[in-house]
């Protein structure tokens, strides 16, 4: 990241732009998928999930050095909570700025996708997503996301975050029952488009509530599995830990 702390303004612009483009990617690829593969919803989801995975990885890589590339209120909240006793890190004011910016970016992203595909700027989503088992899905999806991100942070391996977070979401689209929104800002943004990726406004609060529950579960797992910052060599898995301690320094990456 920058050798000097980036200005607050640049960081908010990065969070706005990143969340905007993430939602544009999610919504836009969903529109294309439905238009071009009308006969198989699974194929539509495959097209949508692959495009989302790749776009998310690229956005984190592109904007991470500026803002940390949260693009997600639960990531910002978890980051604040884990480092709340560290004077160098973000405080409540910055958290509010990040979260507000992310929500505005997400809404803008849905609008951009609508316009880019010749649809009205805003069309409220009509897809109802309120079945309780979907909430289990959001809990699992968000818990896993928080565990992944802060496992990388606590082991100084966030260089893997772009590919890993993208891959995680690409998989979670499929293995969770809710197609893994796992992001309150994106959930709100997706209410502004009545397309494949949409979620009806009345379904939004339930999703956000269980995303927060999932984030809490994820944080608990982080504290149990990674109670403190540790340094990881290039060699970590799958072999039992002791073996990897014998890696000569020069083979570390």
């Amino acid at each position: 990241m920058s050798s000097r702390r980036p200005l607050q303004a640049r960081r908010l612009i990065a969070e706005y732009l990143g969340t905007l483009l993430l939602v544009t990617a999610v919504v836009g690829s969903g529109i294309t998928a439905v238009n071009l593969s009308p006969n198989d919803v699974g194929l539509q989801l495959l097209e949508n999930s692959v495009a989302t995975m790749l776009a998310l990885a690229v956005l984190i890589l592109t904007l991470g050095p500026v803002s940390g590339a949260h693009f997600n209120p639960v990531v910002t909240l978890a980051d604040w909570w884990l480092h709340r006793h560290d004077p160098d890190t973000i405080g409540v004011t910055e958290v509010a700025g990040y979260v507000g910016t992310q929500v505005l970016g997400a809404i803008s992203g849905a609008v951009l996708a609508n316009l880019m595909f010749g649809l009205p700027a805003v069309s409220w989503a009509t897809t109802t997503r309120t079945t309780p088992h979907l909430w289990i899905g959001e809990t699992v999806a968000t818990g896993g996301l928080i565990l992944l991100i802060f496992a990388l942070v606590r082991t100084h391996r966030t260089r893997y975050a772009p590919a890993a977070v993208g891959a995680y979401i690409g998989a979670a689209y499929w293995f969770t029952s809710s197609t893994s929104f796992a992001n309150p800002a994106v959930t709100i943004g997706r209410a502004f488009t009545d397309t494949f990726a949409g979620i009806s406004p009345p379904s939004v609060p339930g999703f956000i509530a269980f995303q927060l529950v999932g984030a809490a579960v994820g944080l608990a797992l982080v504290l149990v599995l990674y109670p403190r910052q540790t340094t990881v060599t290039g060699d970590t898995a799958p072999t039992e830990p002791a073996a990897t301690q014998r890696v000569p320094a020069r083979s570390r990456s």
Copy 2:
């Protein structure tokens, strides 16, 4: 990995959680695939294999520093056997703990997937997988997995394990006749769900038996191809070895 040896408890929690989420990913993505792509079993397997590959890679990356991210009894057994004369590594007790934990995690993962998709917590699988040529498939699948993992361990390149093990399983789903279970714990877990990824209880022993045969074959190949720990530079392939020995140190990664 951790600069101090992680506590035993954390390691067992990591193995439990990792095997649980791996089975949730395998079973859950299979359920979604069948629900959304009802007309093409190949497309279902493509969706299932891509999601499994990505989830497995992320789980190894996330939990490797804690437990080594085995999630698989044959990996644990092979690891113990290869290092059995090394006092620093896992002993028989730890092996028993790992294996038991992996099996419990796998069963829990199937239950979680069932619940997340609104199905009964447990429904015994009815998919019979007992044709002898499937056993050749499990032998090949498991042998290749063990060779890959310990080739990386013996060349101090386990930093590549998350992506490589994920990619291997993603391919083996297709090139083996058995869709590559290659994991006794996951095989047991998959008996608890009567969905795309299920295997009927009577088919389980045969799969596990040939997974053990495959592991033995894989270990034999490891001993032949990598008789001892070696250090590999960033430059390894494809050119004949002598050439790569001329890599200046500063270009190594």
Copy 3:
């Protein structure tokens, strides 16, 4: 890259060959996709986008050390403009050489693809792409591409460019309404083949115009988000920047 500056001739050959093979990959994979998946245009685009993404990544990796692997006039122009006050970098003459070579390479690539599939060497494309909302798509696609590339350049992370640029295009095929040409040379080349990837000659100027608009937008974002060259550690995202400053040197990659 080469420890001595490559000769101009080699650099132009690399730009010619790279742009040629990029268009061959785009056009050729499109022909195969339509031939083999006649019943689902989305599946055709999935096949075309995955092949393009992989080929582009490999071409940048292969030829980057020689010419920088621009393969795209807007990348060359943006690179010249950003470094216009730096005597070490390319000047107007080199820019003209690069751009002309890229256009010739793109046309040659379409011809090679046509011949390789037993079609006439040249068949003018008849696919009209002139709807205004497609122009928004090209603006978004090109702006994102320029931001990605120069965010990596300004943070000394172009080692990620092959995978990242490939992934970006693979996603942009889906989330933009125009399937993301984002390259004036490739757009011209694609007018020479009346196949899946073709664009009718009358549609070309509009696409190029908005690609230039997108490039300007992307450059503006680069200047706002990365006002100067900075050095990024391996650890960049997603966590707030301050945290990543505490990475011990030995864990950097």
Copy 4:
């Protein structure tokens, strides 16, 4: 790679096993694809190409340190020719051993795939592949493969070879008219199975002839673009070379 030169025997075993498993992956995934996706040949090729790409990458990563992971006579021949004046590298005898072993491995791989799927051990392929434009395809496919591999070798970046060669073949399946065999040993092996990946024996010589032509073209491009060994920093693309020379050493990977 090994800190001491591996024994000849181990290297031949690695070439045999690697070529065997590569053909097993190509043929086996093709059989599964046809069985499970009977209605769309493009989907079959997508499944086959993704599985092949992943398996090839994993095999190069696994066996590269032992033998260099050629698995391909044209790679072995090109490697010998480029280093023919270097006493440290392979000589004519080793070339003969490698090539013979690769052919035996490829045949064994087809037999294993046949048996694993319950088919007769050998069934001569009946798929005729003799159209001249397919030969253009093999020329392009093999030329690109040789250029990629030795561009990495000459820039000391073969650490990228596993992913890059896999990605290249995954793309070339689609953008070449011949589905990119690009390997004489694999071409011979694929004559032993009358399945999706098969090639009729009479079609084999033409493919091999143009693979050799392609290899010569590829070598010529290597000599033009990379006349000598050079060292590449982590930063190579896409920006013009001079810029990347300003990378501070500590940001290199």
